[in-house]
Subunit: 110 residues, 2 copies
DNA sequence: GGAGACTAGGTCGTAGCGCTACCTAGGTAG
DNA sequence: CTACCTAGGTAGCGCTACGACCTAGTCTCC
């Protein structure tokens, strides 16, 4: 109940974050993992990220296409859909509201 | 995948929030549920809250004592421990960092 | 030409936790 | 007696992050 806090916090946040990164620029799994780490969310394991991407695809929030890499294995590029953008918009505003509520509670217990 | 976002977001956040409220002023379960709702986290069901309180108690982050209510059933009052305060401090700073990272990602995908 | 590292994607089992539904029990109002 | 509010608790379910593992292509170095 100390080190795994981040794991719990990722729940429900990871999918919108991935969606936001894909919305900015089409990308593939491995690169997204690096972007998320660079953004401060910590290292996201493959066993975590790939199921997320499959879920987003299954829900029709992103589309995927295989492309040969110039070097290394082929990459699966993801692009956001209109529905994905809509979902992202709602998730973002919901999250802002939620995190503000949490911040207000945690601020008081200083 | 719309209304249950909040449920996912509560993960790992609920315990620190309860801890923060108890740190501010000793309280009991039913009242804490109302405080959390009032703070904007939405209604927290008994089946969600009471296990959280039992976990906090089992980890030694709070202590509990039964007290007769002037009206209605007896109440179980919770008070934060020194270890609880320490945990709360770490959780709060960790959460600030984490939520800032999420905010930065969601901001970009505007 | 073999070993090892890096890139890239995927699957499987486990564990934690919020949720719904349900239960006990005291007090009060009609 | 019935209904509702307060107050606490338990049981099973479902979702999801995680670690462990697997396949495969490319590159460097010895």
């Amino acid at each position: 109940m100390d080190q795994d806090r981040r794991g719990q916090w990722l729940r429900g946040v990871l999918a919108p974050c991935v969606l936001a990164l894909v919305a900015e620029r089409e990308s593939y799994g491995y690169e997204l993992a690096q972007s998320l780490d660079a953004a401060g969310l910590g290292p996201i394991q493959g066993g975590t990220l790939y199921p997320v991407l499959l879920r987003l695809q299954r829900f029709g929030l992103v589309t995927a296409s295989w492309r040969e890499g110039t070097a290394g294995p082929a990459r699966k590029y993801y692009r956001i859909t209109a529905e994905g953008r809509e979902t992202l918009r709602h998730a973002t505003s919901d999250w802002r509201e939620f995190s503000a509520g949490v911040a207000s509670i945690l601020r008081e217990g200083r």
